[in-house]
Amino acid sequence: MIVPDHEQVLDRLPLKAEIDIVYIRQLVRQRGKEHGMGLIDQTRITTAASEVLRNMYVYAKGGETTISLVSVKGRSGLLVTCRDQGPGIRDIQLALQDGYSTVNSLGSGLPGARRLVDCLELESEVGRGTTVQLLKYLP
């Protein structure tokens, strides 16, 4: 997992309904924009967040997201952390593999999201839940 040297939490948002996916991803974009992220990077982290949020909604029926301003190895970045108390992921390597999905969604979600950010970390315990971190460095 990403352990920032410094973390300033900007938002803590519950994901309870499908519309919260839209609300949270829009806020991720806005926070990126406010902190100097270019349009393409805003779009990358917003899209990656949307993929992870949808997973959280579909598999775990909800969870919580924090958007933070962080410092990692001397670089500042925007960190999006999605936590749920869902069923967990049995095989993380497989979940991050292109083309893999347990709900027949073609599985471009997580591996695709990973390509859009500077770092994607996933921690999961079966029966306990899953945490996904998305980090995009700021210019």
């Binding site: 499908e18 519309i19 996916i21 839209v22 609300y23 991803r25 829009q26 806020l27 974009r29 349009l39 393409i40 805003q42 779009t43 990358r44 917003t46 899209t47 949307s50 993929e51 949808r54 292109d98 969604s105 073609l106 471009s108 979600g109 591996p111 695709g112 999201a113 390509r115 859009l116």
Partner: protein, 128 residues
């Protein structure tokens, strides 16, 4: 928040033999699913031969929305209608490619005007 999606549905406008679908909001997954069904129903109801989907307002297309768009194109083609996506923002195009999403069976045009020309071409090709 700005741009909270309204509960309303995406309009589908018939012009001649084509349908114009202007997506004007950041859609929930439910709206995305409804759109697919509504577009196909509109093709059946109107006998439209072309569908132009304007996504110029969309600031993001993730794998779910991308699959829906390519699904509409494939299903419409089975119903003998062509689909053109217009107005994709450059940042969205870059992100879609990086995401690794292959949107097969879709034609693209820069704007509505070019999209209409492309649909007319497709229509002529199919009648030739």
């Amino acid at each position: 928040m700005n741009d909270r999606p309204a509960a309303s549905r995406i309009p589908i406008i018939k012009i001649g033999t084509h349908l114009i679908v202007p997506i004007q909001v950041d859609m929930t997954d439910q709206m995305v699913n409804d759109l697919q069904i509504n577009v196909l129903a509109a093709i059946e109801r109107t006998g439209a031969r072309g569908v132009l989907i304007d996504i110029s307002v969309l600031e993001m297309v993730d794998s779910f929305i991308g699959r829906m768009l390519s699904g509409i194109a494939r299903m419409a083609s089975v119903m003998d209608a062509a689909v053109v996506i217009v107005g994709m923002q450059p940042a969205v195009a870059i992100t879609l490619v990086e995401l690794g999403l292959e949107m097969k069976g879709i034609d693209y045009a820069l704007n509505i005007e070019d999209g209409m020309v492309l649909l007319d071409q497709r229509l002529q090709e199919s009648e030739a």
